[in-house]
Amino acid sequence: MRGWFPRISRGRPGRVDDRTSAVRPFWVGHVRQAVAAGVVTVAVGAGVLATMFSGSSGSSENAASRIVPPVRVPAAEFAKLRRATTYTSIPAAPRDPAPFAVTGGLVVRPLTPLVVYAGPGKPPVAVLPATELGGPTWVPVVQSSPGWERVLLPSRPNRATGWIYTAAADRSRLDTRRSTYLVRIKVGARKLSVYHGGRPLGTWTVTVGAPRTPTPTGRTFLLALLAPPHPTYSPLILPLGFHSDTLTTYGGGPGTVGVHGWPNPSVFGRAVSHGCVRVPAAALRVLSLIPLGSLVLITS
């Protein structure tokens, strides 16, 4: 119980460590181990799966028998597959079947590059890397099927999705979590709201894309949290999984749509950006706490 009360510390000052730099994230070791274990998805036969789940209930056996094994991807083909990043386009990726629906909050992070398929049992379309923009890859799950999860991809075109094989054989290579956050952006109203567990944390008036460079709509996700080494307009930038529909490139980048701050508050409430969403500092602070992969629902 003592931990519940204010504590007056009397430690030795000489031992105080004043460092302020970040330490190595805990997941780095996991990623390295996973990479060392191999990167190519191994096709698992139905017989093997049946054996693996033989100790489960009858329903599980039925579920196991329904699992569609992935198409085998030889190493050479794996190497040629396009990486699903904000810099790439995956034209063969199936589109989001419900681009304005809220998900259950499941987010996944590949611990090693994973093959992305067009569907269960369908051909591969890309590889989802373990890192995006220097940080861990987290993508939201938008649909589930036995042994498979459909995720949003950070690549062009907007609303690109892909299926990853998540049956037992691959579970060790995937970190599965749940985000209880949701970001809603109403372009017309120029409002951004953050919800946690269904409860609103705040709503702010924001800047959205100008009529010629509109902010794309649909559901996307927080791709990364970046701290520019020499910030000019914002100390933090949160790229989304979306890209501008009208600009193929911007500032040397791939036209990624992001959420970030802005030094001049007079822009808030106006449609003057190139597609990004400019937010007040208070909103940026809240957004910086939200797990990557969390859903961002942008409506007109």
């Binding site: 430690g11 330490v23 749509v257």
Partner: protein, 209 residues
């Protein structure tokens, strides 16, 4: 979460007022909330930086030393949540200054979340986060008496917890890697652990400003 911090903000405001009237004339801006820079969950033993002493935290507990990243900001309150142990809010800081905060947990406990209310000197730039500087894993055994019970059981939870035993020892080092059930299902087969807060990456990407 906001409700929880609402009380903290009120308490922090009272504390700030007291300090302002008793201390020297350091003017601070309004209180604000910042997250922990490092991603959770974290165990003291698993954290990369260790030290022998964390404030007055006894060596029978895991000690946790948090610091603020500049010289113009101080803690108003710090709320940390451990598993096991639950949440604790700390309002006394240092030494040597109020930019240092210490917390204690059961050996092997997992730091699930941490958030702080802070204040920055007027005219200075607000900080965006605070850091876990280092941990002090427990080195001694507490003479804790376990609660009498029948057969000890271990209930599966989202976050592994130390196995109950008669004494608390430092050998209880839980694995923080989340488990994912092997049973296939059309929907998530079990509640997944909370996703971690992000850590900013120092890089840049030209976005459609």
């Amino acid at each position: 979460m906001m409700a929880r911090f609402g009380g903290v903000v009120v308490a922090g405001g009272v504390l700030a007022l007291s300090v302002a009237t008793l201390g020297e004339a350091t003017a601070y801006g309004p209180d604000y909330q910042v997250p922990l820079h490092q991603p959770t969950p974290i165990t003291a033993a698993g954290f990369g930086e260790h030290s022998a002493q964390c404030g007055s935290i006894p060596d029978t507990e895991d000690g946790w030393h948090f610091v603020l990243p500049d010289d113009f900001t101080v803690f108003v309150s710090l709320t940390v949540t451990f598993s096991p142990g639950g949440a604790q809010t700390i309002t006394s800081f240092g030494p040597p200054t109020d930019k240092h905060a210490f917390a204690g947990s059961a050996p092997g406990a997992v730091l699930e979340s941490a958030s702080a209310i802070v204040k920055t000197e007027t005219g200075q730039t607000q900080v965006l986060w605070f850091n876990l500087s280092h941990t002090c894993p427990a080195t001694a055994t507490a003479t804790a008496t376990p609660t009498p019970s029948g057969t000890p059981t271990t209930t599966p939870t989202e976050t592994p917890t130390p196995t109950p035993s008669g004494t608390l020892t430092t050998t209880a080092t839980p694995t923080v890697t989340p488990t994912t059930p092997a049973s296939p299902s059309p929907s998530p087969p079990a509640p997944a652990a909370p996703a971690p807060a992000p850590t900013p990456v120092t890089t840049t990407l030209p976005v459609t400003g």
